[in-house]
Amino acid sequence: MQRDLRLDNVGRRYGLRGPWVLRGIHLTVPPGTLIRIEGPNGTGKSTLLRLLARIDAPSEGRVSGAPRTAYVPERFPTALPFTALGYLTHLGTVHGLSRPAATRAALEWLDRFGAAPYARTPMAQLSKGSSQKVAVVQALLAEPELLVLDEAWTGLDSDARAELERAVAERTAGGTAVVFVDHDPRRLAGVPDATYTVRDSGLDLRTEQPPEEAAGPRVTVVAQGPSGGQLPGDAQRAVVAAEEPAPGTHRLTVPASHSDILLRALLTARPPWHVVSVRQEPAGPDTESRR
């Protein structure tokens, strides 16, 4: 089965004679890529994401490729007659897991997002943020091949936002393609493989470098590897800055969301690297000047 999702000259409008929301869109989403979609409100970002998740069919053009897809809507309803765990178990089985596996994965992910205490609370009694966590967990628990996030961070507390960034980093390292929309420019800053802007119902690839102040929190790892050794593949992709102050000693900087990916790559490399120190750098423009 073809895992690349491709949009060929795709257009979408609502109704037979409605105005075109999107037109002439060409986009390929290979496995393992992280794509950010930007644009002001009401320009068709959500429509594009619905086309990518294949919830909507294009009015013209062609969408091909059938990755196993999970979707997180921007606002998740609480009007579902289930407990959080009950709903997630159902969705896990819909995504193809067995019932016990779905329950296990749901509990694990709820715990990661700090929502374990609400597992047996009826959805109707959940706060907006907690129900958004349920929406996020629903998408992550079956390890999809394509993850579509429509402002999934909105409404989450800061711990859960960071956890979702780490989960996205983990999934992309595991081969999942992730497409997301978010209004915070620091969201996964510096990480996406491509950033597109929806403009005049078309799609522009953003080529200029993002402004420096958009950098998110970073983590610096000092590690010792085989002399003259090449960084392991996954580490190479995650790292935004690397220097070698002494032979065999490397100072590697990654976005905070990718620290686990880097450490895993270093420690599981053959031969393994030795991690000397891990330090979190504060976010913001002063990161560069202090060094």
């Binding site: 294949r54 979707y71 997180v72 289930f82 159902h90 995504h95």
Partner: protein, 223 residues
């Protein structure tokens, strides 16, 4: 598909929105069927009353899931399959309801023709009643599927359209449901048990087409 059906069924049962159509059916039967009446007449009524109830159940199953939750399921399995599951759960519920009603009506009715002169055996009569109930449940599903999202979105138009279509499917000559029900009624007059196989087949074909149209449109209409 099993997981999807299970999810939709749980959604219907736990939402408790099945209760009003269920009660409506009980009331229908309470008014129209009494113990000791000619069996085929009562079975015909049982089948006919099921059609609008089924259409209502379909409407409930399709509108039960909030759009954002439906999007999550649609992304996982495709919007057509997600919609199909909702329609099948409504159909299954209606069939279960109709089968129970048919068994009860078969047991409490008088196994005789309308003029009480000819004996009508219970078992074949019950079987004919089951076929008619199936035909009506199928056609009710078609009516429901064609008069709700994604075909009709505004409630103000959808509900009158559903009621009118359900009424017409029961009374207009040429409708498989009407054929099945009137077959039972004429059978009751003559004392011969009809087997409404042809109406059932026609109803199955019509419903399959209606379901196909509804499922195909799910990804083309806005939520």
């Amino acid at each position: 598909m099993t997981a999807l059906l299970r999810y939709q069924a749980a959604l219907l049962v736990r939402s408790q929105r099945w209760l009003p159509p269920f009660l409506l059916y009980v009331v229908f039967l309470g008014i129209g069927v009494q113990g000791g009446q000619p069996i085929l007449d009562s079975l015909g009524y049982t089948a006919a009353a099921l059609l609008p109830v089924t259409a209502w159940l379909v409407r409930i199953c399709v509108t039960n899931e909030p759009p954002a939750a439906r999007s999550c399921v649609s992304a996982a399995v495709g919007p057509g399959r997600a919609h199909l599951a909702a329609l099948l759960v409504a159909l299954g519920t209606a069939v279960a309801l109709g089968v129970v009603a048919t068994v009860v009506v078969t047991l409490i009715s008088n196994p005789a023709s309308a003029d009480l002169q000819t004996r009508v055996p219970r078992l074949p009569a019950g079987a004919a009643g089951l076929l008619a109930v199936l035909a009506c449940a199928l056609l009710g599903t078609a009516v429901g599927a064609l008069t709700t999202w994604p075909l009709l979105r505004s409630t103000g138009r959808a509900i009158p359209a559903m009621l009118l279509a359900a009424l017409l499917s029961v009374v207009v000559t040429g409708s498989p449901a009407q054929a099945a029900v009137s077959g039972l009624v004429t059978g009751s007059n003559s004392g011969r048990v009809p087997m409404p196989v042809l109406p059932l087949a026609a109803a199955a074909l019509l419903t399959a087409a209606a379901i196909a149209v509804a499922c195909a449109l799910t990804s083309r209409r806005s939520p």
